[in-house]
């Protein structure tokens, strides 16, 4: 009986609590014309401690300085943001300001869910960010035109995080941003460091597509070609080069640790600290975890990515966009312009250990210090170019359903490069066909 009473009481309390605390329209419901402050929801995907703190600090500063435009900071998650947005766009309740990455914007722009910002961008913000970064957020509007559907503010490049003691012991030339290793030098260095149970390099290939396709631009590999308005998959000599070289490190030179193959980006770090391998090619953001976790006395350095016929890499930007249904797009744009000014971008980049697109932010002394490899990371930004595959309608499906399994099989040595190339093209073209009808 006591249980029944307790449950009944709990039910009443729960319902009352649920009803009582459930109120509140997080959306932008009031306008300055009614005398109430305009309310803007800002969906942020910041997740690292310093980055969240920087985001909150900038929002607080904005709110204090702009009592008529109040921004609500809402923290989202990278893993689910697109599922969340699809529903909220369809329901017309998406946040006013949306943090995402540039590959996700293309589809949303074509579907008409994002506001074209090209006529709204303040001149100062526009000129502070180079055109190569704006290219990552310029997409078709689904009606034959082109629009700018986000403001790019953080970028990731591929670098090599290396064990300094092993590097010194191998007596290899230390590459610099001005004079990076060629892929041949990189492979030779990896071979030289492979001894006594230590491998020269570890390729974490759980998600192989972004890493390999971005590096493929070193040899001009674009993976897609467009002729007569039709886009098809292309895996020619340029595209095969990086794939083959990584495969050779694994199975010909045996200088790459096979244990890392199925691992995610950060998974090989414990073995790296233990000296199981000397070099870890990874995105610049991984430096944060190394700086935080590396055991005392462990010396590590950041090396620039290798160079093929060029040092170019594919650029993916983190972006801020405005929802098409936002009731306050002008106020949202004002907030974005403030949020992404040079000084604030430097804070955000430091918090996320990524590269700012703002030229003013990139000149910040904190972005060019040697500490934790910031100088090398920031210098790598000059090699970033818009990756052609990110503009292909259907790329996401090709990446998930075709490229990821095929590349995993190839790197696991289960299929040859010819078989991999054939499947990437044949199965890929079937996917793309659906998007081009």
């Amino acid at each position: 009986m006591r249980i029944k009473s307790a449950l009944a009481a709990a039910a009443i309390v729960a319902l009352a609590g649920a009803c009582g605390s459930g109120g509140g329209d997080g959306g932008s419901s009031s306008s300055s014309s009614s005398g109430e402050p305009v309310k803007i929801n800002f969906l942020s995907l910041a997740w690292q401690k310093e980055s969240v703190a920087a985001n909150k600090q900038i929002v607080d500063e904005w709110n204090k300085a702009n009592p008529n435009i109040q921004v609500t900071y809402v923290q989202g998650s990278w893993d689910n943001v697109n599922d969340q947005l699809v529903t909220q766009f369809a329901g017309g309740t998406a946040p006013d300001v949306i943090h995402n990455d540039s590959p996700a914007l293309s589809g949303f722009a074509t579907d008409g869910y994002l506001l074209d910002l090209k006529d709204k961008l303040p001149a100062e913000l526009k000129s502070d960010i180079p055109q190569s970064a704006w290219d990552t957020v310029t997409f078709g509007d689904g009606k034959g035109g082109q629009g700018v559907y986000g403001v790019p503010f953080l970028q990731e490049s591929q670098v090599i995080i290396a064990n300094k003691k092993l590097l010194d012991a191998a007596k290899v030339r230390i590459p610099t941003p001005d004079n990076p290793w060629t892929w041949d030098e990189f492979s030779a260095a990896a071979k030289k460091m492979t001894k006594d149970g230590t491998f020269g390099v570890a390729w974490a290939m759980k998600s192989p597509v972004n890493k390999t396709l971005n590096l493929a631009l070193n040899f001009g590999g674009t993976f897609f070609q467009t002729a007569d308005g039709k886009t098809t998959v292309k895996v020619g000599p340029e595209e095969r080069e990086v794939l083959q070289r990584i495969h050779d490190q694994l199975y010909t030179d045996k200088s790459a640790d096979p244990a890392a193959l199925g691992q995610g980006t950060a998974d090989p770090l414990p073995a790296f600290y233990k000296g199981k391998f000397a070099m870890l090619p990874a995105g610049v953001f991984l430096r944060q975890q190394v700086a935080e976790q590396a055991p005392d006395g462990f010396e590590w350095v950041t090396l620039p990515g290798p160079k093929g016929t060029s040092a170019q890499q594919g650029a993916v930007s983190q972006t801020l966009s405005i929802a098409q249904d936002s009731k306050h797009p002008d106020e949202a744009m004002k907030f974005i312009a403030y949020f992404l000014n040079g000084a604030n971008q430097a804070k955000l980049a430091k918090g996320d250990w990524l590269l700012p697109t703002s030229q003013q932010a990139a000149a910040d002394p904190a972005m060019t210090t040697q500490e934790n490899g910031w100088d090398v990371a920031t210098a790598s930004a000059k090699n970033l170019v818009v990756a052609p595959f990110l503009k292909v309608n259907g790329f996401d499906e090709w990446k998930t359903k075709v490229a990821t399994p095929v590349l995993q099989e190839y790197f696991a040595n289960k299929i040859t490069i010819d078989e991999a190339a054939k499947r990437l093209v044949d199965e890929g073209n079937k996917v793309l066909e659906r998007y081009q009808r």
Binding site: A10, S21, K49, V74, T87, T93
Partner: protein, 272 residues
């Protein structure tokens, strides 16, 4: 002594079940350096509470837990209240309508979640329930109800109809026989269904993600996911600390309710 192997097996099983909780505890107390060791340790060498401080300092975990508890209790109770009479009818009355109803309940389970989320979201928006906890309760009841109904009608079927017939012979009305004979026998089933509904709601992430935007109404799963980044990278220490704290309310709920799961098993089965 004969029972020694049984005890060993039981102890091993308990350790196996407790493994995730012990791992969470161990991780929550480790420094970032210790978490990244290639040879993981069970007992932290330099235990630290910094992960708990980070987790509670950065996120409103207590508020989120209270909201999750409210939503889960409300959703589970409403689910049971609605499904109990329907389950009785499904179990006791046979006919075409009944068969169709049972078929529909089964069919409703095979719809992919993504298929219903957008229409459901539209309905909630029109009812002004988006961004509210009552809206989330409605959604949780909606997706928990079919399976709860299925579970409960199984429990009702397990109660022999002869017991009700015997009560009728003694002059009891149908309502009286349900209340005095069937209900006590059903209690463990009701508790099991309540637990199922509670767990489903407590852990539910996707609907909450889509429906709730206002940080002041967000539930625990939405708060926990804030410690994860792209490509499966996570801030493991604060995530483990927060997850550990997140298990406490549900453990308390289980502790309160599990005795009822056992005690009602045969109550009322013997006609006095």
């Amino acid at each position: 002594m004969r029972r020694f192997p049984q005890y060993v097996a039981l102890a091993a099983y308990v350790v196996f079940l407790a493994f995730p909780l012990l791992w969470l505890l161990s991780t929550a107390l480790k420094t970032p350096q210790e978490m990244a060791l290639a040879d993981p340790t069970w007992i932290p060498r330099e235990p630290t509470l910094a992960n708990f401080a980070d987790a509670f300092g950065e996120q409103d975990l207590v508020g989120a837990a209270v909201r999750s508890l409210g939503v889960a209790l409300a959703a589970s109770l409403i689910t049971v209240v609605i499904s109990l009479p329907a389950a009785y009818a499904m179990a006791r009355y046979r006919g075409l309508v009944n068969k169709i109803a049972i078929g529909w309940v089964l069919v409703s389970q095979v719809f992919p979640f993504i298929l219903i989320i957008i229409p459901l979201f539209m309905i909630l928006r029109d009812l002004d329930l988006v961004n509210t906890l009552p809206g989330l309760v409605v959604v949780h009841v909606t997706f928990t109800l079919p399976f709860a109904l299925w579970m409960l009608q199984g429990y009702v079927r397990a109660v022999p109809p002869e017991l009700e017939e015997a009560a009728a012979v003694d002059g009891a009305t149908r309502l009286r026989s349900i209340a005095s004979v069937v209900a006590p026998l059903l209690a463990p089933g009701v508790v099991a269904t309540l637990l199922f509904a509670f767990i489903s709601s407590w852990n539910e992430f996707m609907f909450a993600l889509v429906i709730l935007q206002n940080p002041d109404v967000m539930t625990l799963p939405l708060t926990l996911v804030r410690f994860t980044g792209p490509e499966g990278v996570a801030r493991l220490g604060p995530l483990a600390a927060a997850s550990l704290m997140a298990t406490i309310p549900s453990l308390i709920f289980f502790a309160i309710i599990q005795r009822r799961l056992k005690s009602g098993l045969m109550a009322g089965a013997v006609k006095g």
